[in-house]
Assembly symmetry: C2
Homo-oligomer: 232 residues x 2
């Protein structure tokens, strides 16, 4: 009957291009040990990455979530891999590179780590101290550089002001398919908050400015944009 | 009747020397901004300080809990004051100094902070970086040095190995009434875990080695020891 047909239409999930695909999402901050008790980190809460992983799973993808230290529950249907430092996150993510269709680097991986972490606890005696830092591996760039044709690479660019040029450079330099640029203003967008304002820049030059959205809605819109870039 | 007397005895809370006293407890880590998104911190979860605040309130004290960034609920009956950095924690604690009977420094206040925090986001270009750090204020020492007769000052000494001599020096140098020394072993004692092994050193030279306890039980034993030091 027409009623049954209608009911079926309303009940059936919209078919998603992500259904059956394998997605790797990194999320959260990393912590870089200074000594046994101290570390370097950043204000990432992991909420954006977790929202993306949850939405990708809802769309029928096999989802691996590689997470830094956060206090969020694992979304339903998502396989979680925990890591603390950037080096550990790369180790957790690398085995997942080969078999994924899509890699989304939503983690705020620390750019630098202390050169020589100390085993015990550094004693304070001096009025000043120098902390020598070295560069961390770039997990997204490592995936992007070594990927096979057809695998998509998506990144985030977080800037505290202006900065869309920086996002565009990231898209080009790392040969990404899409960059989600967001301004960290400490209130409605960026780290620790539940909302986000994203601007999506894709490999073809398209720019989509999204309004202020919950991170769940932002995840939906981001995945909508990514679905259009997936190989047919 | 004898039954009524018994029921009363069983129901009445044990009288506590802390009843009616004002207690200030600091708890948790501090975060020291490197720039708009990055910070220095440590692995303190705040659990020990929160357990002490909860137990002091249960014993009838007026409790101010000055907390760094943690993800713990405020214990019942406790007045909470939030702070992020060591400087902010001192600002939040200082107005409480004059009217308290007891100050317990359970926070893991960062010893150092970046000399010049940057407004936006430091750009990564170099393979290495130097972070110049300066000493933070010592909140417990500031209280201890400026306190009035009869006010008690209690601190924690966290060491990753050996270190009881360091705890003893802290007791003497800061003129504390009691130091709770605990070894950070990353598993049963110290940060992030739910248990603790404390050794209490008091101003009279008494040393009490507590067994492995939950942080709630450790808080009880610590407050028992402190009650003996309160002015009669």
């Amino acid at each position: 009957t027409i009623f049954e047909a209608l009911a079926e239409m309303l009940a059936a999930p919209e078919p998603s291009a992500l259904s059956g695909k394998t997605v790797v999402v990194t999320a959260g901050p990393t912590r870089e040990k200074i000594d046994g008790v101290r570390y370097l980190s950043n204000y990432s809460s992991g909420k954006m990455g977790f929202a993306i992983a949850a939405e990708a799973a809802r769309r029928g993808a096999t989802v691996h979530l590689v997470s830094g230290p956060v206090t969020l529950p694992t979304p339903p249907g998502v396989q979680r891999h925990d890591a603390e430092s950037a080096v550990e996150m790369l180790e957790a993510a690398r085995p997942l590179f080969a078999d994924c269709d899509l890699f989304i680097g939503a983690a705020a991986v620390a750019d630098y780590r202390p050169e020589t972490p100390v085993e015990g606890k550094i004693k304070k005696h001096d009025a000043e101290m120098e902390l020598r830092l070295v560069r961390n591996p770039d997990i997204l760039a490592e995936f992007s550089t070594n990927r096979k044709p057809g695998q998509l690479a998506v990144g985030f660019a977080l800037e505290t002001a202006g900065g869309i040029d920086y996002a565009r450079r990231k898209l080009t330099d790392k040969k990404l398919d899409l960059v989600a640029f967001n301004i960290y203003d400490g209130t409605t967008s960026g780290f620790e908050v539940d909302t986000n304002v994203l601007t999506l820049l894709d490999r073809d030059g398209a720019i989509t400015e999204l309004p202020l959205l919950s991170k769940e809605e932002a995840a939906e819109r981001l995945l909508d944009a990514i679905e259009l870039l997936l190989p047919r």
